[in-house]
């Protein structure tokens, strides 16, 4: 498995989740654990560029794949989060940012969401679209307005 561009290898039991492999075995603590059951999005990472909740997959499934965590992200959306105060405690933030990066790519590829009215043409990234597409990432601090503003700013 490649993590943030570096080849890594570890002897892991088959039951170890991708999230635990990163946090506990590889010392990559950027991805956070909020629920360990796919409900909060704090553990979101990018696998070959697509967003994935890393608590729901087993590390062995990702053998040979390219995993990017917040530590490996360098994207304008990070600065936009700071400018728009799209964060408070910061615990959901790595997941929100990875999710935003993945979501922008999905949108750029023309993928629709539940908020898309006409699925035949490429949807415009309205705030409603951003909210729908980001709804798997909970923020208990309630920084939602700033997060949406940051993503909208970067999406232009």
């Amino acid at each position: 498995m490649r993590v943030n561009g570096a080849e890594t290898s570890a002897e892991l039991e088959p039951r170890v989740s991708l999230l635990d492999a990163l946090r506990e075995h590889l010392g990559v603590t950027g991805p956070k654990k909020g629920c360990d059951q796919g409900a909060c999005g704090a553990c979101t990472v990018l696998v070959d560029g697509r967003r994935v909740v890393s608590c729901l997959g087993l590390a062995v499934q990702y053998d040979g794949r390219e995993v990017t965590t917040i530590e490996g992200v360098d994207h304008p959306v990070q600065r936009a989060f700071v400018r728009n105060d799209g964060l408070q405690c910061g615990y959901c933030t790595p997941g929100q940012i990875c999710s935003a990066v993945g979501m922008l790519a999905e949108h750029a590829a023309g993928e629709p969401s539940a908020a898309t009215e006409r699925v035949t043409s490429r949807p415009t990234l309205t705030e409603a679209e951003i909210r729908e597409r980001m709804s798997g990432n909970l923020c208990r601090c309630g920084a939602y307005n700033g997060i949406v503003a940051a993503i909208a700013e970067v999406a232009g």
Binding site: G34, D85, C89, C92, G142
Partner: protein, 760 residues
């Protein structure tokens, strides 16, 4: 001889500026580290075994399979755990006892007091092994009779004890008699369910012993209290315990106390002589960390035909555990919001065989304003009067109970500002009269109210010869942006650039800071930071005088702090120049003392000030919440589509982070109004939805743009004029949503949350 120090420049633009967070980069690049993310050589992992019965005696506990699981080091139970010292009940004179969450000495007893109490802790080389082995531990119980059903226990409610921050009730005149004879009246009963904080970071502890010295990385809002409680429980000197919490992934009151996980992680480290990490699962948080009490409330209002309140009755029943809990001040806001001739406020409580209830964002006012503000709205409806107009007719000049002065009160201004931004004048009063296509549209308002208080805060401010400044204080950053705000205050007070200020916080090795609770951190710190900066300016002037600087030849009163130094009519110099001429590498100014005596004095002063201030003024953050909902007439689905919150939080130190705090409160309030509910099995006292898939917190799609506006008027009695912003945002939200739903549908919902079944 003391004389007034040189003054700060009052116009410094840094105070109030929407400065970006000082830790924004750390938090957006994954560099910020939280309690479960500190590695230590030989680190092992712990997991809890939680009771599945509400009250019982443990008659045995079979750990054989767990011990046989590969990787398991030990299983601690009541049969083999070393003895710990019992925590004293919360109370003065030692304020840190407030952090005692329950009276149970975990694993030192065979009694089970709540459904979820830890009965064993497993330690293993990996977290997976610890969790798996925990599932293999088999406790046997002899069940004991238990009272776990809040509704069924209501008839046994007893008068509530007061909590340290709020009286338990109050009365004026004869409210029941006035109610009976009032020309117009409402008499309504409301219920609110149990809530859980659900900070996205679950509670976690990393504990390391070096002999008898203990270091703990802990997610806590009270690092000093945590240190003192741990020192007590494990019988070691306070000075030998260090608690670190630079970043905390949200608290909301849920990380203010010493819950079992922390104690058991420290115990496990002690027994295994290894560093131990205990990162609770989401379910373990629900089982072992208290939530907000459920409530049942009665609000009755009597008025004249032109809307002058003659009677206000607000009573509540809430829940405590037999083992402890927070007496929730449900009627708090009702002491201050309306000028009724006769008032009766009474709080009662039931004690259940359940985990202690605890503080959660605006304990009392968050759910109290829902009931009170719904009743006021209903009265306005019956009077045929605009709900804002009704509130303005009953806006008091002095506190309705006791006639104490308000330190300042800008609720009228908040309503005017909010109404203007929301476009309230366009509202058509009749319920169900506004539509947008198939959606029923409703507009509602409610008042927000949260008291302002202060804790003691020790700080050191250190000026270096290069003109940079370091602020040191063991305060907390759980998301409010405290290091940023305090750096702004230092920059303002010393007239240095914001970038020249560094902040160290979240470590008990620093001067003792205030707890992050009760919306008190900013003001508490501001008082001490200002005092320390004034001291520092005085010391610098002294240095300047002795070393022959032009600054030293002028009177302090003629000098101002700006441009990184002190300047007067005859010129000035930068701090760097003054320090270098005086041959000083740094100057320190300290406020508060961390010696035993200093601590006692500080606490006594704090208690005395609290009593004295309470007699002189009523102080609070207030606000007006405006909500628009759309309700689907076929499905009953409620969407919040517009929000305006106009607040008086005194001086706004950082417009960006203060807005975020208030928005965060509103978001949690939307959850309280529409979706949040902890479901407790009335037969077993077991929480049935201990996860984020069954307990619904608001998501992106539930939250529209929230327009937050400030009246922005400094409170004349608070340091820098700062009130608090952490909690007032959630107050009034439940009421505003419920009132908007009533306006949309003609249905008033008396039982939170307003789920769609209640509208069909």
């Amino acid at each position: 001889m003391t004389q007034a120090p040189p003054a700060p420049v009052t116009e410094a633009p840094v105070l109030g500026a929407p400065v970006d967070r000082i830790d924004g980069t750390a938090k957006t690049t994954g560099q910020a580290r939280y309690a479960a993310e500190f590695d230590h050589p030989g680190l092992v992992h712990a997991a809890l075994v939680c009771a599945t019965v509400p009250r019982a005696r443990l008659v045995g506990i079979d750990t054989a399979d767990a011990l046989a699981h590969p990787g398991v080091l030990t299983v601690l139970t009541h049969e083999n755990a070393p003895t710990m010292r019992k925590s004293p009940s919360p109370g003065l004179p030692d304020i840190s006892t407030m952090a005692t969450a329950t009276s149970v000495t975990y694993l030192n007893t065979d009694e089970v007091h709540w459904n979820g109490q830890p009965v064993a802790v497993v330690v293993a080389t990996t977290s997976d092994a610890a969790k798996e082995a925990a599932a293999l531990v088999r406790p046997s119980y002899e069940p004991l009779p238990a009272t776990v059903d809040f509704q069924a226990a209501l008839p046994d409610a007893r008068p509530q004890k007061r909590n340290p921050f709020s009286p338990a009730g109050g009365a004026k005149g004869d409210a029941e008699a006035a109610l009976a004879t009032a020309p117009v009246s409402v008499d309504l009963t409301f219920t609110t369910p149990m809530h859980h904080h659900n900070a996205i970071e679950p509670h976690a502890t990393t504990a390391v012993w070096h002999g008898d010295r203990l270091t703990v990385h802990e997610c806590t809002q009270t690092i000093d209290w945590t240190r003192r409680r741990l020192a007590h429980v494990f019988g070691v000197p306070v000075a030998d315990v260090r608690v670190l919490a630079e970043f905390v992934g949200g608290g909301f009151g849920g990380k203010g106390y010493l819950w079992p996980g922390t104690v058991l992680a420290v115990l496990a480290a002690r027994v295994t002589e290894r560093p131990v990490r205990l990162a609770l699962s989401r379910e373990e948080v629900y089982r072992t960390v208290g939530g907000r009490t459920p409530s049942t409330q009665r609000v009755a209002l009597g008025s004249t035909v032109d809307g002058k309140l003659t009677a206000l009755v607000h009573t509540s029943i809430t829940q405590l555990g037999r083992i402890g809990g927070w007496p929730e001040q449900v009627t708090s806001q009702s002491r201050h919001l309306y000028d009724a001739e006769h008032v009766l406020l009474r709080q009662r409580q039931v004690e259940l065989d359940a985990l202690s209830t605890t503080t959660m964002r605006a304990p009392g006012e968050s759910i109290g304003t829902y009931a009170l503000e719904s009743a006021v709205d209903e009265l306005a409806h019956r009077l045929g009067m605009d709900p804002i107009e009704l509130r303005m007719r009953n806006e008091p000049d002095r506190n309705p109970l006791g006639g104490t002065r308000f330190s300042h009160r800008r609720l009228r201004e908040a309503y005017a500002l909010g109404a203007e931004r929301f476009g309230w004048a366009e509202r058509s009063p009749e319920p169900g009269s506004m539509r947008d296509g198939r959606w029923l549209v409703g507009w509602g308002v409610a008042s927000a109210y949260h008291p302002a208080q202060m804790f003691p805060a020790n700080v050191t401010v250190r000026l270096f010869a290069d003109g940079t400044v370091l602020l040191r204080s063991a305060f907390h950053e759980t998301g409010m942006g405290q290091p940023t705000t305090q750096a702004q205050i230092v920059a303002h007070e010393l007239g240095v650039p914001f970038e020249a200020v560094r902040v160290e916080h979240g470590d008990t090795a620093l001067p003792t800071g205030p707890p992050a609770g009760g919306s008190m951190q900013t003001a508490s710190l501001a008082a001490s930071v200002r005092a320390a900066c004034a001291d520092l300016r005085r010391s610098v002037h002294g240095l300047a005088r002795r070393s022959g600087s032009v600054v030293g030849r002028q009177r302090p009163a003629d000098l101002v702090a700006r441009d990184g130094g002190l300047f007067g009519p005859d010129g000035g110099e930068t701090y760097a120049a003054i320090l270098s001429r005086a041959g000083q590498s740094r100057v320190d100014a300290k406020v508060g003392s961390d010696t035993g005596l200093g601590r006692v004095t500080g606490q006594l002063r704090f208690a005395a000030r609290m009593v004295r201030d309470g007699m002189r003024w009523v102080r609070a953050s207030t606000g007006a919440q405006f909500c628009e909902v759309r309700v689907d007439p076929d499905t009953g689905e409620v969407r919040v589509t517009r929000w305006v919150g106009a607040f008086d939080i005194g001086t706004v130190v950082n417009a960006k982070t203060a807005t975020s705090q208030l928005r965060g409160g509103i978001v949690m309030g939307i959850g309280l109004a529409l979706s949040e509910e902890t479901l407790v099995d009335p037969r077993t006292g077991r929480i049935m939805n201990p996860n984020l898939s069954g307990y619904h917190v608001p998501v992106h799609a539930d939250v529209p743009e929230l327009d937050v506006a400030f009246v922005g008027d400094p409170d004349p009695t608070m340091p820098l004029g700062v009130l608090g912003a952490g909690e007032v945002g959630i107050t009034g939200v439940g009421g505003a949503v419920a009132n908007a739903v009533f306006h949309a549908t003609g249905r008033r919902v008396y039982d939170l949350p307003i789920t769609l079944d209640k509208l069909l």
